[in-house]
């Protein structure tokens, strides 16, 4: 992991059309270093998925900017956008909705290869697809199957292979494990980690489960109502939560110990009356918290 920021987000805001100006994502800034995993946590509707989709240009950026490897990608069009799309991919939450039911696994994975002409002929394309399939732990005979023949975990592996097919540098993982069984979650997370080491990938890992995010992430940002309320190294945020919302989130994690679980009390979070104003303040090295 280097100190160089690969993705830099400045004052990013998203307003959904027709929502009478409500900001789904409100003026957030953060940066993701090359080769690291940046965890984004928060409750449902806090804007984390919106943020992820803006980063891969699936949603319009209402205001603010996103820079990728020094290039502003906020308003890219045409060829340049296509080239950015090759480098930035996304893995979706719902493995049942994210694969086209009418396409064979081979063609699902090869879609990116075809669009970006990454294979010179049919044979090379098939080779690339086979290699991707093997790397996500599926067997060659799965190539000619349809998505409905697979389990959730297997489907998510196909989704990962599809995202990796364009040889991206940056992957947005939009809650890739929250639709899976706990026993499968670990497999998929370990697969993601292995691929990251192998290909020097940079992840934005979106989740609502703080414990899993802590396991995979180097740094974490906690989102609440469209704002980042706390950000810092994963261990520091987890051990020394500064914002009351982060404390509340951590108190909601079940403990794998019946004694502790019996004693665990959830800390409810009551948001302050005052909504406007405030800034992120550096409380300790690289650990920022929102104060109003």
């Amino acid at each position: 992991m280097s100190e160089k920021a690969l993705v830099t987000v400045r004052n990013l805001t998203h307003i959904y059309p027709g929502s009478s100006g409500k900001r789904a994502v409100d003026n957030i800034s953060f940066s993701i270093r090359e080769g690291e995993t940046f965890g984004l946590v928060g409750e449902s509707g806090c804007g984390k998925t919106t943020t992820g989709r803006m980063l891969v240009r699936l949603l319009d950026i209402s205001s603010g900017s996103v820079a990728f490897d020094g290039q502003d990608i906020t308003a890219l069009q045409g060829k340049e956008l296509l080239s950015y799309r090759r480098q930035a991919q996304i893995i979706f939450q719902d493995p049942y909705a994210s694969l086209d039911p009418r396409k064979k696994v081979k063609d699902i994975i090869a879609e990116g290869i075809d669009i970006h002409h990454l294979a010179s002929d049919r044979q090379e394309r098939d080779e690339q697809v086979s290699r991707l399939l093997a790397s996500v732990g599926l067997r060659p005979e799965h190539l000619t199957r349809y998505p409905h023949e697979f389990s959730g975990g297997q489907r998510q592996r196909i989704g990962i292979a599809r995202a990796l097919a364009t040889q991206p540098r940056f992957v947005v993982c939009d809650e890739p494990i929250s639709a899976l069984d706990v026993s499968i979650q670990a497999q998929v997370v370990n697969l993601l980690k292995a691929e990251q080491r192998l290909r020097n990938l940079t992840y934005l890992f979106i989740a609502h489960d703080l414990s899993m995010v802590k396991y995979i992430s180097d740094r974490i940002a906690v989102m609440y109502r469209g704002r980042i309320v706390e950000t810092g190294p994963a261990g520091r945020v987890y051990e020394n939560p500064l914002h009351p919302y982060t404390r509340s989130l951590i108190s909601a994690i079940p403990l794998p110990d019946p004694e502790g679980e019996r004693k665990r009390r959830r800390i409810p979070y009551v948001p302050a009356e005052k909504e406007e104003g405030g800034t992120l303040v550096e409380a300790e090295a690289e650990h920022y918290v929102w104060t109003s």
Binding site: V56, L81, R85, R86, F92, S98, D100, R102, G112
Partner: protein, 348 residues
Amino acid sequence: MMKRNKEMTKAVSLVPDSAFVPCKPGETEAEPPLPRALSFLEDSWRKLRRNKAAVVTMILLLVIAALAFLAPVIAPFDPNEQHLSWKNLPPKWPHVSIDGLNGTTLFRGRRVDSYALAKVPEGQYFLFGTDEFGRDLLSRCLWGTRISLMIALVAALLDLSIGIAYGLFSGMKGGRWDHVLQRILEILSGIPSLVLVVLMLLIFEPGISSIILAMTISSWIPMARVVRAETLKIKQMEYVQAARALGATDAKIALSHVLPNISGIVIVRAMFSIPSAIFFETFLSFLGVGMKIPNASIGTLLNGGYKVFRLYPYQMFIPAVILCVIMLSFNLFADGLRDVFDPKMKEG
């Protein structure tokens, strides 16, 4: 807990030791190979086969289509050829002596052989009888069915071309484009097609071309609407988002993701629009603004038949039955297809 454990041990000890094979370290049981998967078409065909009505009507439609297609070859007479001395002959079938099919008519309480009276040579049969000009009704019915099926084909083609293209474009573009295109559809569907066809008679000769022209204007509108609605739905799916993130263009998404996923609904919709198109042509021909006399179509045959219904009921009865069978077959077959492709859709 302890008790259950003991029971388990007991149950396991009932299995003879020889049934257990020790596993070598590092060895895991190979996953069983997957059963062969059915493709979309195979699966659909398997489901369709279970529906008896759909299979029967499909065979019936194939037979009717074959007969109509082969009309120029198998029709015993030219459909417009007149034999005035052989007019209004009842059906006569070889080796059948049932009244109504043996060429006799009831005259003053007695059965008389109309064929003998008209001096029809021995061995000459008119299976469906003849009309007021002595034209062979079997030949006319075959040619008329041909017209009906041609109209069906045109309706399906219009649906599949203009309807799909319009709906896909409108749905994929969305926003302002969609808004304008949908208003145009509303204006088009506001034109009453019957009035339009009648007005067309002022400019064009009545005939199949003016019927097709009228259908071009409005018959594909329901299809365009269905396709648009489905496109808007599919567009939101995550696999389309994934394709977009991969860099797929709108056109590619429309053709390679949206179209295959709405194909079932499209096929069903097209099948349901066919009977109404057939009926439209029949209706116009019956009114005399469709097919030009003397050409045969189910509508003109019915028109000729109903005038003499009291005297020669077979002249109306036979084309009516043919029309019913065609309409019913298309409807039941479409129904079967709908159950296969689109079980959620409740009405056509």
